[in-house]
């Protein structure tokens, strides 16, 4: 019972860490914090990178370790590559926060090469119009593409469906 409560406390501490590039969501809402376990008194957090070359991965891991230490745990990070992170792991709450922040959350189940030449319809996070156009496959960070709303003329980031 005590161990379970401690584990829950460790999860809370780790989960509160915001994503450094998308600070409106935390690592649990983004789905990259997979689990936190207590192993011989050490809090071990499993973290899955969003992209192979995500430059924020190391910073995120260090922040989670620091948050666990702050909460009084000895801490260690385990990088979990398998299964690979997908945008499907972003929680409902996370999606809502992204939208409020001005980033369109991923629209569809993470696809494969259906993506090949396939266009998705993306909803503008500002005005809700689906009359939007892609400006660039690659946006301000590796995980986002850049779009523009044709209705309200606002440019916005779109979380890539991967």
């Amino acid at each position: 019972m005590l161990a379970t409560a401690e584990q829950a406390r460790a999860w809370e501490a780790a989960a509160a860490v915001p994503d450094p590039e998308v600070p409106c969501v935390n690592v649990a809402e983004l789905g990259i914090l997979r689990w936190v376990r207590l192993e011989d008194g050490v809090a071990v957090a499993g973290v899955t990178p969003t992209y192979s070359g995500c430059p924020a991965t190391l910073a995120i891991e260090m922040s989670i370790e620091a948050a666990l230490r702050e909460a009084g745990f000895d801490a260690r990070i385990e990088r979990v590559l398998s299964p690979a992170w997908t945008t499907d792991w972003i929680t409902e709450e996370g999606r809502e926060k992204l939208r409020e922040y001005g980033i369109a959350p991923p629209e569809q189940a993470a696809g494969s090469v259906r993506a090949l030449f396939g266009e998705v319809s993306v909803t503008c996070p500002k005005c809700g119009s689906t009359d939007t156009e892609k400006l660039s496959e690659f946006g301000s960070t590796a995980c986002k593409a850049h779009y523009r709303c044709c209705a309200c003329a606002e440019p916005f980031d779109y979380f890539k469906c991967i």
Partner: protein
């Protein structure tokens, strides 16, 4: 250490191509592409890092990813020749990217059945990134191939220049053959039909045809490279070689 060597070949492909396209950073013709190039480079370099780290662990001699990336000379690099070809113009750059991604996409899908857990982990993520690269590079090949007289000419020149490097993608070195037999890596030769299909789909829209290749250029897997790789490595490795053991 066949598996170490085979993983190194794979990692070298990704690092060298990643470094090549990163050379467009600050030089691309428009802001969107100036973002796209480093983004794609990050995917490739990120993949190479995991592979180097894993290769170093399997070798068991304490070589880190930095040691493997920064302290080997061009004769020790085992990347295929396609990935070291110079950027030239957007036609060359995007065709090279399309050729590579059209190979790696089915490769990583097949690698999901690998007996090696790290390879499986890399495969899950990298196949999605390669699908993205196929789409992005494919759209450019179509735009340029079916574009102006100038862009179409350049696209055809790129096809002529790069097609002799395609066959090497499907060759397996003796080390790779061992890794394939052990179920660690997919058989390269099996991926030809899928590659042909992807390229045909793009070339059809781009008004391009794949030329017959009278002579396929090979040698990268034996460490025989164009002098351009030496220049690339000199730039990439200079800081680490000036400050051995530096960490960042």
């Amino acid at each position: 250490m066949a598996i170490y060597q085979a993983l190194l070949e794979l990692a070298d492909d990704h690092l060298v191509l990643g470094h090549r396209i990163s050379e467009w950073c600050g030089h691309a013709p428009m802001l969107e592409e100036d973002l796209a190039m480093p983004n794609m480079a990050l995917d490739l370099i990120g993949t190479s890092r995991t592979l180097y780290e894993h290769a170093g662990e399997l070798e068991g001699k304490g070589q880190s990813e930095d040691d493997l990336a920064y302290l080997r000379g061009e004769r020790d690099y085992r990347n295929c020749l396609l990935v070291e070809r110079p950027n030239e113009d957007f036609a060359h750059t995007m065709l090279r990217q399309l050729y590579f991604a059209a190979f790696m996409y089915p490769y990583w899908i097949a690698a999901e059945k690998s007996s090696d857990e790290v390879v499986r982990g890399v495969a899950g993520k990298a196949q999605k990134e390669m699908a993205y690269h196929i789409r992005h590079a494919g759209e450019w090949v179509i735009r340029l191939g079916d574009g102006t007289d100038e862009s179409a000419t350049r696209m055809r020149e790129a096809v002529d220049a790069l097609s002799i490097y395609v066959d090497e993608l499907f060759d397996s070195s003796p080390a790779a053959q061992e890794a394939e037999a052990a179920g660690v890596l997919p058989k390269r030769a099996d991926l030809r039909a899928e590659w042909d299909k992807t390229i045909a789909q793009v070339f059809d829209e781009a008004l391009l045809t794949l030329p017959a290749v009278p002579f396929a250029q090979r040698g990268g897997r034996e460490g025989l490279h164009d002098e351009g790789l030496g220049h690339l490595l000199a730039e990439m490795q200079s800081v680490y070689r000036a400050h051995p053991g530096a960490r960042w």
